[in-house]
Every structure is written in structure tokens, then in C-alpha cells.
Symmetry: C2
Subunit: 401 residues, 2 copies
């Protein structure tokens, strides 16, 4: 008999709790696993011995169902980077101490690029010091920018939120008889996956967004004006999806308020101002903000089920196959019918690395994406989970008040 | 036999098309009504004779179902204010000409405060000139600020969107172990109804938003700092719901960019900056933007059904009861069980007037609302419409491309 621990790290998504659920459920299949501990606030929970017995929290099928449709991280999160143990191994000793104290033989870390760095370093340390504790990474990020995996849990739900909201914004933008330009800013500092996913509306015959700008493509204001002029010939209300990470001059424009404070604003607001100045027509910008990463009420069922499945597969990998130092990944077998397998990959291959939107899926003009991108995205947003409502509001699984 | 016309005006909501549906359906019960015309872009459609036969557009039950769950205005909208006919009656003559040309004996206008001005002026003109055309106003606005009616169609869906999104933002804000302040800006330039409605989360045991600021209450930055300090003693992540219309100094702060352009930003962004300066902790602001007025995918079924019903009641009022110059209103009979009647009110009583959030429903500290407010709001957000999905995206009823 031994115990295992699981923790959640990085930015919230709609699917991290589904992966937690998957870990918890899979562990219950193994008679040799006694307790599944949840560490509070990611690796900090292991460092400071803040563990909670998940079976005390998730007690019924109803709890599991709520957990599946509750966004963000029920155990809390962190942005904690472990030092290099070659220079300072004190954190590693503390972690080992906590894990040994609770007889934890496997640790599962649900997170993105940075969290995979933690998985990698811990596994390296345990191997070097002959410590028999398995470490497995379970991917999540709405940015979809983890290498080696076809896509990441959390991305499909974010994409479904973006498409749903964007379609409503499109309806909203078409009501007046005057020309207008609407700029929608979508998350993704380095990779344009989520912004690119807005192309899915085409599958239902919706031509907007008419322009899509990604960080993977060179951006210039001159080109933007030219693209808008061209789009205006065809569409009264021009809709633009723009990644927060595109390279424009806002960081250099030194916007300050009356008190001399630098005034931080998103790329959308910046573009709104310059486009209004240039065209003189009705221009507005909309930031989908954190709602796009925690919009559980319009989550993708495919995403949630896959997140649960990959959480379970991580437990199998460590316990059945005695493996460690791996990140679990999705390998797509086919688009139509959509089929996907789960494959472990050496975590060294994905830690601290980013996967960018493929250049060959960007159109020649650099202002939209191709049909291959559409075919890639569509399966990931399929299906709607059953949401439980109470007093007209979705019910969330909550530990804190 | 005669014809009728209907038009939509003002800002989009999730329920305006439901009222259009109600008008269309009710008209079909009357054998004396031949054609139901939809005027494009509100009263502009009547002025410029841009009418469409609704039976050519809404042909099946499926069309009606889609219309019910499609946000914004399928016939387009306008912000057109009729001149005073005592000074210049040329527009009125054009309108009468179009209506007579198509043998239209009743005109239904779905809109907010400004649109009721149009209803009032048209009715006054028709009466003065002995023109037998009925004019009836059908209320809509997410602001809920039309006088005489208990609430307005569109408000319940906006409130449900705000509560649902806010709850997800609350989950998102609680993940890290550090203190934080989240400011959510909600629509309502003059009236705080929608911001106040964020209190509904309390019905499910959620204490946030911890602070609620409305335009109806005096606001000062000093008070805000004091309120936050107090809230921080109890909550690590303080959540603030603030109406876009609160009276703060942002309009006087003269924010400009490097080019000297005035930099317009919302109250949320402004407060984010001053609160960060004051407290030095993690502060962020989120604008729910136009998504809150067109979030059909999380609409209130109560709202949509009432919107449909009040559209139908308007037709009955004009055709069965031969009435004109009225705005249809909701009169609440009881909260629990929720019961509501529909009553016509002289449109002069509501045109160009606003109804504010009751002072007696604001707490003594002026930073939250009372249980009476909660009891008022709750029935309006109940129920979820069945949404049709195609390719993972809600299907919208569309006339345009």
C-alpha cells in the first residue's frame, strides 16, 4: 500500500478539475493505492506540507459531476519555479521530506509549460538520488502551446467560449446601418492557437471574423489598414480577431495618465484608437479577458472528457507501467471520425518549450487561417456538458468561501 | 383585412427577437390581419420604406425556435430620434405615407426609453391628424430602467449572463495564495439595476461580489479604499462589481497617449489603476462589455418567454382592445411563486424617463444591496432555453451574411 499526490498549477482553465477528477477516479481502481492527496496551491502545497485527503472532499458521484463543470483549480494554483538543484537542493529536500512523510510514491502535476519544468526537475532529482517516487505531468493550458501533444486540455473549452461569444458579438455588431469595425482581443501571448480557433464559425457559414492576426505572423499597422479597407468593400461590419501577443507598437507608445503613470492597456484598445483615428468610423474593441479561460458554462464536452481521461492515463502510466518523468500527450489518429490516443512522452521534450501555430496554416496574406486549421479545431469544441443550475445559476464545486 | 408592422430599436439584447416572435405569432391568430411587415433598422425602415414580409422569413417552427435564442435584432436597429412634429412634420408625413401605402393599421415598436419617445410622438401625431393607425411600444433594455414596468425584457438574460460570468471570474480569482482585488465593470450608464443584480450569487451561498457600487449612490475613492481595506480582512480575493455609470474622476483625469490623443477607458480600468497604486497588490479589472447584452447562450428562459408573451399582448391590445399610445408593462403579482401580469400604460408615462434602482434597496454603507433586491432579481433569471448546436456552436437565426 502507498499513497499518491496530485496538484494543479498555472493559469485557470475549464478542464483542470476534470483532470483532477480523472486522477482521483483512476487511483480508486488500484487496491495498492491507499490515499489520494491533493496539494494546495501546486508545488507550494508539497513544499509546505499542505495536503488534503481528496476522498474527504470528493465523496459522491454528484461531487464528481460538479467538479467536472467547475472552472479554475479547486486545489488552488501557483506560479512557483524550482531552483536548479545543482545550485540549491533545499527545496527538493523539503519536497522529498513531505512526500516520504505521507508515503507518497507518485506525484501528478496538472499544468502548462512552467509546470512541466517542475515535473522534469523533480524527476531528474529523484533519479539522481535514487528516490523511488514517480512524477508524471498532465498537460493543461488554454494556449494550446505545449510541444509533443496534439492539443492541450482546457483549449477546446476556451475555443468553444471564444467562438460562442464571438458569434454573439458579430450579431451585436450588425444592427446599425452605419459601417463599423469591431476588434476582439483573444488570449495567447506567444502562440496564436486560441485566436486562430475563431475560424470555426465558418463551419456554420459565418464569414466573420474577416481578419485574424496571430503572433506567428508579422504585423504592421499599414497592413492592417490595407486589410480593413479591402474587407470594408464586402462587409459593413468588419470583425477582427487579434491575439494579445501580436507585435505592435503599444509597448513603445508610452501611454500615461495625468499623474504620469504608465497606462497599461491591451492590444485591442491600442488598435481601437489607431484604427478610429485612421478610418473615422465607429470602432470598438472587446477583450474576452479571463472569461475565456474559465467559461465552464459553455465548456466543450470533448475537452472535459479528454481531460478526465488523460488524468486517469497518468495514474495508469505511473502505477501499472511503473513509468516516471513523462508528460501525457494526445496523439490524433483521425479528424473525421475524430479519434485520439494518449501517449507518454519524455517530459524533457516539452518542459520550457512552446509550440507555435503552424505557418503553413496561415493564409498568404497573413490575415486569416486555412481549411486545415478549421479541420484541426472543429473536433475539439464538440459536445456540451450537462450543467446543474440552482436559482438560475450554474452550481460550482467549492472548497473555499 | 389589414396589415401590421413591427420594428426593433436601440441597443441589442438577448430577448428582442423573442418579442418579434411574439408579435408575429399573435398576429397569426387574427384572421383580419393579412401581412406582418418587419421594418429594417427600426423607424428608418418605415421612413425609407424598407419592409419585409415576416412570413417569408419565419417559415417554420424551427425558425421560431432559432429566433427565440438569437441575440440582437434580426431586423437591425437604429438610434433615430423623430423631430417634434410641431416644428417639422415631414418625417411624420413620410411615415404615414409608407404605412398607408402598405395598408398598415398598427405599428409595434420594440425598444427602450428613446424608442418610447418615437411611439409617443407618432401616436400624438396620428391622433391630432385623425389617422387611424395604432402604435404600441414593447419594452426592452438590459438596463431595466424603463418606468412603469416591473422589469424589462432583456434584463433577466443580461443578469443571468452577469451572474454566470461573475461566478467564473470569482473561481478564477481565488487560485493564488496572494491577496488580490478584482474589479468587474457592468453596463448601466445611469441606472445600477444590472450591477445590483450580481447579488444573486448569494442565493447559492457565494458571498462575492463583496462590494457593489451603483450610480444611484455617492461614490468616492476614499470610501472605496476604506471599503476594500475592510473586505480584505475577511477575503483574500476581494471582488468588486461596479456600474460603468458611477461618478468618479476618470473623465477629468485627462488620460492621453504619446500622440496627445485622449485615451478613453472604462471606469473599471480607471479604478484598477488607482487601486493598484493605493494598495500595491495584484489588481485587475474586467469589462463584461457587449457580451452581457447579447449572451443568448446563457439566456434566462423566464426572460425569453416573457418577451414573447409581451410581444403577443401588444398585438392583442391594438387589435382586440383597439388601444393605442400604450407601452406594455409587467406588473409583478408575487415573488414566490413568481407571478406577473401584463398591463398597458400610457406611453407618455415612460417615454424619455428613467427608473432608478431604489435607494431603499441599497445598504447603509452604500456598497451593497439588500435582501429585497435579491428577492426581486431571482425570479427573472430562472430557466435555461434549449440551445441548438451545430459543429459545437450555437445556431443563430440569420438574415444577413
Amino acid at each position: 500500500m502507498f499513497n499518491i499526490a496530485v496538484a494543479q498549477s498555472g493559469g485557470p482553465t475549464a478542464a483542470i478539475n476534470a483532470s483532477l477528477c480523472g486522477v482521483f477516479e483512476a487511483a480508486q481502481k488500484y487496491s495498492e493505492i491507499s490515499t489520494v492527496y491533493g496539494a494546495l496551491n501546486g508545488i507550494e502545497g508539497i513544499l509546505y506540507d499542505r495536503l488534503t485527503d481528496l476522498s474527504q472532499i470528493i465523496t459522491t458521484e454528484h461531487d464528481k459531476n460538479l467538479l467536472m463543470t467547475t472552472p479554475s483549480t479547486v486545489l488552488g494554483s501557483c506560479r512557483y519555479k524550482l531552483k536548479d538543484f545543482g545550485e540549491d537542493d533545499s527545496e527538493y529536500k523539503k519536497i522529498t521530506e513531505t512526500l516520504n512523510k505521507h508515503d507518497i510514491k507518485a506525484f501528478f502535476y496538472i499544468g502548462g509549460n512552467d509546470s512541466m519544468d517542475t515535473v522534469m526537475k523533480l524527476d531528474d532529482y529523484f533519479r539522481e538520488n535514487n528516490i523511488d517516487i514517480k512524477v508524471i505531468g498532465i498537460p493543461k493550458t488554454i494556449d494550446n502551446d505545449l510541444p509533443e501533444t496534439d492539443h492541450t486540455p482546457g483549449f477546446g473549452s476556451a475555443a468553444k467560449y471564444v467562438a460562442t461569444s464571438l458569434q454573439e458579438i458579430i450579431r451585436d455588431s450588425r444592427v446599425y446601418s452605419i459601417p463599423s469595425i469591431t476588434i476582439v482581443e483573444i488570449m495567447g501571448r506567444e502562440a496564436g492557437w486560441l485566436t486562430a480557433s475563431s475560424c470555426v464559425l465558418r463551419a456554420n457559414g459565418e464569414p466573420a471574423p474577416h481578419l485574424i492576426y496571430l503572433p506567428e505572423c508579422e504585423f504592421s499597422e499599414k497592413k492592417l489598414y490595407h486589410d480593413i479597407e479591402k474587407a470594408q468593400k464586402q462587409y459593413k461590419a468588419v470583425i477582427i480577431a487579434v491575439s494579445e501577443g501580436i507585435d505592435c507598437v503599444r509597448s513603445k507608445s508610452g501611454i500615461t495618465d495625468a499623474f504620469g503613470h504608465t497606462y497599461l492597456s491591451g492590444v485591442g484598445k491600442y488598435l481601437e484608437n489607431i484604427v478610429r483615428d485612421h478610418f473615422g468610423c465607429k470602432v470598438r474593441s472587446i477583450e474576452l479577458n479571463v472569461m475565456q479561460r474559465c467559461g465552464s458554462h459553455i465548456a466543450s464536452l470533448t475537452d472535459l472528457e479528454e481531460a478526465r481521461r488523460i488524468g486517469g492515463a497518468a495514474v495508469d502510466e505511473a502505477v501499472s507501467r511503473n513509468n516516471t518523468g513523462m508528460m501525457m500527450t494526445f496523439a490524433r489518429i483521425s479528424n473525421n471520425p475524430y479519434r485520439v490516443g494518449i501517449v507518454p512522452v519524455d517530459v524533457h521534450k516539452s518542459a520550457n518549450k512552446a509550440r507555435f501555430f503552424p505557418k503553413e496554416w496561415i493564409n498568404e496574406e497573413g490575415n486569416n487561417v486555412t481549411i486545415d486549421a478549421l479541420n484541426y479545431f472543429l473536433p475539439l469544441i464538440q459536445g456540451e456538458p450537462a450543467i446543474e443550475f440552482q436559482n438560475g445559476i450554474p452550481v460550482h464545486f467549492r472548497l473555499d468561501q
